[in-house]
């Protein structure tokens, strides 16, 4: 898969425009959002580039980025498994489902598997409370998921547990 993460010329241009503004720092979050939107995540190189172009100290950029929940620092896997942990799903055991996914895939939240094929992320209410707990992979919505359903769901995507 070709993944070129260098910043596009449009983004570079907008960052430069921000840096001319009165307080470039106040454009930091919009700048980070912009980069994340087009690459899906923020790499170290992205963050350093943003710092240089925006003329905001490196430490501030990574400090701000790592403070907010909605920034990710790793590319998501080809199959991103989104587990709703909104109130309804939470009460009906989304936590255990989430844990089972992490355990099966041997990963941490938002960290892709080594082969880059899967990553697990949580989301707030996805608007399907009647089906809770809900898991979404790509276009597909799985409802009333229990931890024991997890291996089967994964096998649909060709995942085999080692052991």
């Amino acid at each position: 898969m070709n993944r070129d993460y260098s910043l596009s010329s449009e983004i570079v241009q907008s960052l430069q425009d921000f840096s001319e503004k009165n307080r470039p720092e106040s454009y930091l979050i919009p700048a980070l959002q912009m980069v994340q939107e087009s690459y899906g995540f923020l790499s170290r190189e992205h963050l350093d580039e943003v710092a240089l172009l925006l003329r905001v100290p490196y430490a501030k950029v990574t400090g701000v980025a790592s403070f907010y929940h909605f920034f990710n620092f790793k590319p998501s896997g080809e199959n991103e498994i989104v587990i709703c942990t909104g109130t309804a799903c939470h009460v009906r055991g989304a936590g255990a489902v989430l844990d089972r996914f992490l355990e099966e895939l041997q990963v941490k939240l938002e960290q892709p598997t080594e082969d880059g094929r899967f990553s697990v992320t949580d989301a707030r209410c996805v608007g399907a409370c009647a089906q809770a707990p809900v898991v979404i992979i790509g276009e597909k919505v799985y409802s009333k998921v229990t931890p024991d359903d997890v291996p089967e769901i994964l096998s649909e995507y060709g995942f085999e547990a080692d052991s």
Partner: protein, 587 residues
Amino acid sequence: MIKQDRISLTIDGFKVDVAPGTTVMQAADRVGVHIPRLCYHPKLSILGACRICIVELKKEGRMVASCSYPVEEGMVVVTSSPKLRRYRRDIVELILDNHPKDCQTCVRDGNCELQNAAYSLGVRERLFEGERKSFARDESSPSIQRDPEKCILCGRCVRVCDEVQGVTNLWQQFRGFESVAAPAHNNEIKHSVCIHCGQCVNVCPTASIVEKNTTDELFEALADPEMTVVVQTAPSIRAALGEGFGYSPGTPVTGKMVTALNLMGFDAVFDTNLGADLTIIEESEEFLNRLESGDDLPLITSCSPGWISFMETFYPHLIPYASTCKSPMSMLSSLIKTYYAETREIDPEKIYSVAVMPCTAKKFEAARDEHKTDWGAPYTDNVITTRELIWMCKCMGINFRRLPDSQFDSPLGVSTGGGDIFGTTGGVTEAALRTAYEKITGETLDELDFMAVRGVEGLREATIELAGREINIGVANGLQNAKELFDRLSAGEKQYHLLEIMACPGGCVGGGGQPYPPEDTFSLDPELVKSRAKALYSIDSNKKLRKSHENPAIQELYTYYLGEPNGERSHQLLHTCYKPNKRRGIR
């Protein structure tokens, strides 16, 4: 709205009048009540993070953080009550529960602000046992060592690095339980834009940021019969060392310091002042040359290694303007392993050269490749800070206050007043002017005190007449001030001829390796810095020789060893070069 000049309020039953905008904490300080504090620092912006400074507002019946709460007319404040003590104790207990339990073996045992707070608030037991934060120590830098597990997130290091030094290498990274004050990406210091100035060490309330301690190595060297162990002490050590032994700030302790070093087993005790005198000879020559040719002006001083790193990282375009002179420490170290070794017939590889510096950045400077001998060893083998020297004396049972006075050893212990004042902001400029004046005019300078360049303000300018020419001088200490000076420089409104830049506020007397502030003072306290500077000026004014070029040891050095100032040999031994940092800064 009527603007009120004064606001009167009651603190613990005492009436007090203060200016509007004063905080409750400041007003209480005025009455003589020290409200406990951890995140607050008088020279930094207010964060209000730790909440240990809470007080009760009687009328409103609520508690507020006194460090960030402005006074109001008629306010009734209570700073101490069973309830307040309980709450403050709870806060400190919670901090401690997320803190290593190693007070007895911690480098700051006895002078830790967290420990003091726990003691004075009566925290006598630890109630909770739970998960504690876990971070690796960062020992990557030769100057600064971080132990994030001891960080209480007061944010002082973050603020001093940003607001005072303009480096902004530290910021709070991550969130919640994982929060930590660290460089970008939580990188090691080695891979950051740190300039090693150590101001974060000075303001850290705990041992989360300390200098890299190299005293063990020094003890080993002192015990090695094969080695000739020599030491040099920077100008500002004598003005601050006494504080570690109960002397009030500004008490010069030169003689006792030399005796202490003799007792510790050093084979010779030399004076960095001689290096400073030498710097003046070389640098004033360089200055006069540039003045004559008109090239590469302004000349920017180069003795502060924190400033040098700052330049290499943030202002690489200024490199051609920086003086090529090594710092006084490095000049003297070069002579120790060459001139001294040759004249005393000692194998230079068997010399262990130590420097006591007010500075953490000197540890970095000593390790730079530019300051290595032909055989690959550093010219300066070990740099310890004033704090480390105080500790070593205590460790060796040296009863400092009882010591008699001794003199520095010859030939590298003779110096003039010009060398002494190097330790304070404006001093290098003044010493250089004393010498430059006589060189350029051929006349004797009678009025030696260049009052125009003295002071502790962070940024000063002066215009001085030198042989009918107006010389524009800028003096900055604290790198945020230096930045401002560079802004003026690039605005190009006037031609500057000489810029003196010291990384630390107040110059070396306020260095990142100086003693933790004694009671009633604080780090960055202008009064503290002023009293240390005063000690240096008084040493200078009491000396018979006050102009660097009158130093007989230096004259001898040039006659028998170095040849001409800026000549071939001095270039090889006393000058250096700089290179832009690959990881460039932002500005």
